[in-house]
C-alpha cells in the first residue's frame, strides 16, 4: 500500500497506467513548474470521473473497466482535501509531483484488488 498523504492521487494515476494511458503520469512526473501539474491533475480528475461513472459495477459494488480482456478495478476519487494538500505541496516543492508519478508507475507493494476504497 502507498504510505503517503497522496494515496488517492497515486491510485488514480496508477489506474491510468494500467489502462496504458501514460499521458497524465508523464506530464505530472516531468513537469518543471507547478502549472503543468495543476492542469494535468485537473484533466486526469475530469477524465477519471467520466470513466468511473460509466464503469461496470460488480456484485460486491466495485467498479471496473475492461481493457484487452482484463478487468481493471477502479479506485475511488481522491478527496478534495488530498488534492488541495498535494497542489499546495507541489507549489513549494516540485519533487512531490515526481514522487507521486514515480509511485504510480511502481508495482504496488501489496496486491490491490480493489485498487482503492469505494
Amino acid at each position: 500500500m502507498v504510505k503517503t498523504e497522496y494515496e488517492g492521487i497515486v491510485k488514480m494515476l496508477r489506474f491510468f497506467v494500467q489502462t496504458k494511458n501514460f499521458s497524465y503520469v508523464d506530464r505530472i512526473g516531468n513537469a518543471l513548474n507547478p502549472e503543468p501539474v495543476e492542469v494535468a491533475l485537473l484533466e486526469a480528475l475530469r477524465a477519471f470521473r467520466s470513466i468511473r461513472e460509466s464503469a461496470s459495477i460488480e456484485g460486491d459494488g466495485r467498479r471496473y473497466v475492461e481493457k484487452d480482456g482484463n478487468k481493471i478495478p477502479m479506485p475511488g476519487i481522491p478527496s478534495d482535501e488530498e488534492v488541495k494538500i498535494f497542489l499546495d505541496d507541489v507549489r513549494s516543492d516540485m519533487g512531490v509531483a515526481k514522487l507521486v508519478a514515480t509511485l504510480a508507475l511502481a508495482y504496488p507493494s501489496k496486491k490491490e484488488n480493489s485498487g482503492g476504497d469505494e
Partner: protein, 382 residues
C-alpha cells in the same frame, strides 16, 4: 481534437510562456498540431497532383499516409508502373522459382514444428499457389494487379524481405519517388532491412495563439446530445435514449509557419542527384505550391470540420522566397513582418536575392500567394 475520456473530447492544449508585469508565467492555450496541418496539406497535394496528371500511390490517394513504411507497403510500387515492373522483374520466372522454394521450405518447417499453426501453413500454401499461377499467366502484371493485396503480401514478406530481388536503397528511393508525389514532397521512412529515410521537403509548425492574444484565448466545453430512436416497448428514461457529451472548442488568433524546399523535390535524399526529369520536377513544384494555396484558401485544415468549421479567416500572411534556406520570423510576435523585412535586407547586403509579399489590409492572402507563384514562374522554378 486530441484524446477523448469518457464523454469528454479535449482540444489540444500546449503550455505557453507569457510576460505579465515583468514576470514570466505559464498559461495553457488551445493549439493545432503540426501533424494535423501536415496531413491537411498532403490531402490537398494528392488532389493537385492528380489533377496535374502526376502519380500518387493508392494509399496516399485514400488519404492514408502510411508512406512506404515497410516491404508490404512498398511492394505495390513495383507493379503500378509498367517500366518499373519490366526493369525490376525482368527475370520473373527465376524470382518465382526461388520464392517457391523459399515458401516450400517455410511450409516444411511449419509442418515439422511440434505445435503446428494450421492458419500459417494455409497462408503459406496460398502464397505458393499464387506464385505458381503467376509464372503460368500470359500477362503476369495484369494477374498481379487483379490480386494486388495477395501479391503485396508475397512480394513484401518474401521476395523483397529475403533479398530475392536486388534492390539497393538508391533503387528503392528511386521507385518510391517516381511512383508518388506525396512521398516525394512529404518524405517517408522505409523500415526494411536497410532503412531508408527521406526527409519531408515541407515543414510546418504548430498553430499557436499569437503573443498579443494568448491571454485572451479560450477553450470551452460545449454540450451536445445524441438521441437514439426507442421502440415502444422500451422503458422511458433508458440511458441509451439520450447521451450527452462535451466537446471542447478553442478561440484565438493563431499563427503558424510553413516552409517548402522546392530544391528537394524530385531529388534523391541519398545521392542528392535528380531522380526525375526537369519537366516533371517543375510540375511537382507547381502542384506543391498550389496545394498550399488551396489549403489556405479553402480553410480545409484542423479537426472536426464538418460540425466545427472555424468562423473567421486569415488576417495576415507573409511569403518569402529565397535562394538559400530562410524562415520568416514567427508570426506569434506582433512585429514579425518588420523583423522579416529587416532580416531579408541583411541577406540582400550579401548579394542574395529574395522576394517578399505581405497580405494584410490591402491585399488578400490569395493575391499574395499568387504573386509569389508568379515570381517563381518568372524565375523558371516551374
Amino acid at each position: 481534437m486530441v484524446e477523448t475520456a469518457g464523454n469528454y473530447g479535449k482540444h489540444r492544449r500546449v503550455p505557453y510562456l507569457v510576460e505579465e508585469d515583468g514576470k514570466l508565467k505559464t498559461v495553457y492555450v488551445p493549439a493545432m498540431s503540426g501533424e494535423s496541418l501536415a496531413h491537411a496539406y498532403q490531402e490537398h497535394l494528392v488532389r493537385e497532383a492528380l489533377s496535374a496528371g502526376l502519380p500518387v500511390c493508392d494509399d496516399c490517394q485514400r488519404g492514408e499516409f502510411y508512406k512506404s513504411m515497410d516491404e508490404v507497403h512498398f511492394a505495390p510500387k513495383l507493379f503500378n508502373r509498367e517500366e518499373v515492373f519490366e526493369s525490376v522483374l525482368a527475370n520473373l520466372s527465376e524470382v518465382v522459382d526461388i520464392t517457391i522454394s523459399v515458401l516450400s521450405s517455410e511450409i516444411e518447417k511449419e509442418r515439422n514444428k511440434k505445435k503446428q499453426n494450421e492458419d500459417k501453413i494455409k497462408e503459406l500454401e496460398k502464397f505458393r499457389g499464387f506464385m505458381e499461377n503467376l509464372v503460368k499467366s500470359e500477362k503476369p502484371r495484369d494477374y498481379i494487379l487483379k490480386n494486388l493485396s495477395l501479391a503485396s503480401q508475397v512480394f513484401g514478406n518474401y521476395v523483397i524481405k529475403k533479398g530475392i530481388l536486388d534492390l539497393p536503397p538508391v533503387k528503392i528511393e528511386d521507385i518510391i519517388v517516381k511512383s508518388c508525389v506525396v512521398e516525394d514532397v512529404g518524405g517517408f521512412l522505409y523500415t526494411g532491412s536497410a532503412p531508408i529515410r527521406r526527409s519531408s521537403a515541407f515543414q510546418v509548425s504548430y498553430a499557436l495563439p499569437v503573443k498579443s492574444v494568448a491571454l485572451f484565448a479560450t477553450s470551452e466545453p460545449q454540450l451536445h446530445a445524441r438521441h437514439a430512436q426507442m421502440d415502444a416497448s422500451s422503458k422511458k428514461g433508458n440511458a441509451s435514449e439520450q447521451m450527452i457529451y462535451y466537446v471542447e472548442t478553442g478561440t484565438a488568433l493563431y499563427g503558424f509557419t510553413f516552409n517548402l524546399d522546392l530544391d528537394a523535390i524530385g531529388v534523391s535524399a541519398i545521392t542528392s542527384k535528380p531522380i526525375l526529369d526537369e519537366n516533371e520536377i517543375k510540375k511537382r513544384r507547381e502542384a506543391s505550391l498550389k496545394a498550399l494555396f488551396r489549403m489556405l484558401s479553402s480553410s480545409q485544415f484542423g479537426a472536426k470540420l464538418s460540425r466545427f468549421f472555424p468562423v473567421g479567416g486569415i488576417t495576415e500572411l507573409i511569403v518569402a522566397v529565397t535562394d538559400h534556406p530562410f524562415v520568416v520570423t514567427s508570426p506569434i510576435y506582433d512585429d514579425y513582418i518588420e523583423k522579416t523585412q529587416r532580416r531579408l535586407k541583411v541577406l540582400k547586403s550579401f548579394g542574395e536575392e529574395s522576394f517578399l509579399v505581405v497580405a494584410g489590409e490591402e491585399k488578400v492572402p490569395e493575391e499574395a500567394l499568387k504573386e509569389a507563384i508568379d515570381y517563381l514562374h518568372e524565375k523558371e522554378a516551374f
